[in-house]
């Protein structure tokens, strides 16, 4: 029998998986999947600085979730902006810029975390969970923040589905129709950032990208219809997130993030073999 607490955790992570699956579809189609990896890694210095700020302000001995999330979002935005800036103002291509920003921000974050450990306040343990996720230790408050953020993302995507589709398929036509590419792209980045920040506590920042990419990629293998992708991706995302959280709740010291990613990857692997049209079996059978 699943306890009430576990049930709440399952619901929270499930909704997060659904939001990540939906956002991931548009990131994949806009070819921005990897940028989310840079952004998620870039949140680490922000989390550490948020912790120091909260500590200085005397909030909850540093582990004050809103402050940590605001820090994460700010440094995530700076990371994304830095990738864009490097791409526009140097001869570096986007993948190089992503590699540079991802590793340097993450490095800075680790240095800051180590510094926090030397402070001897004994609360670094709370920050470690941001790296790999720790669903079992989620508080009621954290779960409600997760659910509200995820539901907001889901609602935004359902309302703006048409516009996001246009942006991903034909940006030139989108601009010619009088829509602002800059605003639409920023909106997509904002949705991605919301998923990343929401997923920090559950999946952890190292692996949250998987929840964005893998369900969307799985859905793409199954269908050539966007409407179906927008059902399959959140479905596999939600199931992976909830079942991964469930398994990690029953096995001691099993990081939820890693479990969630493995289940999502399992869905992808199965799809890779049996999916119609794009699957291995079908592909082999083709004349």
């Amino acid at each position: 029998m699943i306890s009430y607490n576990t049930l709440i955790v399952l619901l929270g992570t499930g909704v997060l998986g659904i939001a990540a699956g939906l956002t991931g579809v548009f990131l994949l189609l806009r070819k921005r999947s990897l940028l989310s990896d840079a952004v998620s890694h870039a949140t680490l210095p922000g989390i550490a600085l948020g912790f120091l700020a909260a500590l200085a302000l005397g909030l909850d001995d540093g582990r004050h979730l809103p402050t940590l999330l605001i820090g994460a979002a700010c440094s995530g935005i700076i990371g994304a902006g830095a990738v864009q800036w490097l791409k526009d103002h140097s001869r570096l291509s986007e993948d190089t810029a992503i590699g540079v920003i991802l590793s340097s921000f993450f490095g800075l974050g680790i240095v800051l975390l180590s510094y926090i450990q030397t402070l001897g306040t004994g609360s670094r343990a709370g920050l470690d969970s941001f790296l790999l996720g720790q669903t079992a230790a989620l508080t009621r408050e954290e779960i409600s923040v997760t659910a509200v953020m995820a539901l907001t993302v889901i609602a935004a995507i359902l309302i703006l589905r048409k516009e996001l589709t246009l942006l991903c398929f034909d940006p030139i036509f989108t601009a010619a129709r009088g829509l602002s590419l800059r605003w639409l792209d920023m909106l997509l980045m904002a949705l991605m950032l919301a998923v990343v920040c929401t997923g920090l506590k559950t999946v952890g920042l190292i692996l949250v990208i998987a929840l964005l990419i893998i369900p969307a990629a799985t859905a793409r293998l199954w269908t050539d219809r966007l409407s179906l992708m927008l059902i399959l991706a959140p479905l596999t995302g939600g199931i992976s997130a909830a079942s991964g959280a469930l398994i990690s709740a029953y096995i001691a010291h099993m990081p939820a993030g890693a479990m969630i990613v493995l289940i999502a990857a399992l869905f992808l692997a199965i799809s890779f073999i049996i999916a119609p049209a794009h699957g291995l079996i079908h592909w082999r059978r083709r004349p």
Partner: protein
């Protein structure tokens, strides 16, 4: 009669490179006009500047008698080059045509069944109604081009700006696209196409604008398509064709 498109002293720069230099031209209402010129002449840039897709350095653009802005551009349908998009996108032919209706539907509102029914009538017009549900990645180049054309038709515009509508399609498709353009003209629409194939200009178009960074010549095709104008537009590269 006011020209459908009137460009005066238009300059566009990409960084330090001037790609349009004091370009001035007019395209008459209710006619099919070709913009011709060599690669790098700025033909695509010209249409993009008209649609507000690239920033202009100076000059004036009038669309259907009004200054080009968000409002007047609503009367204009733009058809990008087919190669401008990745056709391996999860959408059916009908989905793409429905995109032409998005502005009508209203931003933030869902596509309903009646919109898809309307989109289907435009696919019928380009002869692809039976392929409505087919994923666009499985269509041939010519069929993709006609899907783009149907999407442009769905915009119900007065002025159509098309970037190479005849590029990379077979002869049959070329003929059917031409039929559609003529049908549009018959209902009083204005069509302006960037065009590459000099052999067909006189047969397909009413007017032509020979263009290379600025306008070399413009008017009825017979007057524009002279060896002298083409020589000036294309430089030495056209010697063989002209002789």
């Amino acid at each position: 009669m006011t020209p459908a498109l009137c460009v005066t002293n238009l300059c566009v720069d990409y960084g330090t490179k001037r790609v349009l230099d004091n370009a001035s031209l007019e395209a008459a209402s209710g006619r099919i006009t070709a913009i011709i010129g060599p690669n790098g002449a700025g033909k695509s840039t010209l249409i993009k500047a008209v649609m507000g897709l690239v920033p202009i350095s100076s000059g004036d653009i009038q669309l259907l008698g009004h200054k080009a802005d968000r409002r007047s551009r609503k009367q204009v349908a733009y058809m990008p080059q087919r190669t401008a998009v990745d056709w391996d996108f999860p959408a059916s032919a009908l989905d793409v045509v429905a995109m032409g209706l998005y502005a009508d539907i209203g931003w933030g509102r869902p596509v309903r069944r009646r919109h898809l029914t309307e989109a289907l009538t435009y696919l019928e017009k380009v002869g692809l109604a039976d392929l409505a549900k087919r994923p666009i990645g499985q269509l041939s180049g010519g069929q993709q081009q006609r899907v783009f054309l149907a999407r442009a038709l769905a915009q119900k515009a007065d002025l159509y700006l098309m970037d190479e509508p005849f590029a990379g399609v077979d002869a049959a498709t070329e003929a059917s696209i031409l039929d559609i353009l003529k049908g549009m003209k018959a209902t009083g629409r204005t069509v302006i196409c960037v065009h590459h194939d000099l052999q067909t200009v006189t047969d397909y178009f009413d007017d032509a604008i020979a263009f290379n960074i600025r306008t070399i010549a413009s008017g009825p095709v017979k007057e524009v398509m002279t060896p002298e104008h083409l020589q000036r537009a294309y430089g030495g590269r056209l010697l063989m064709v002209a002789s």
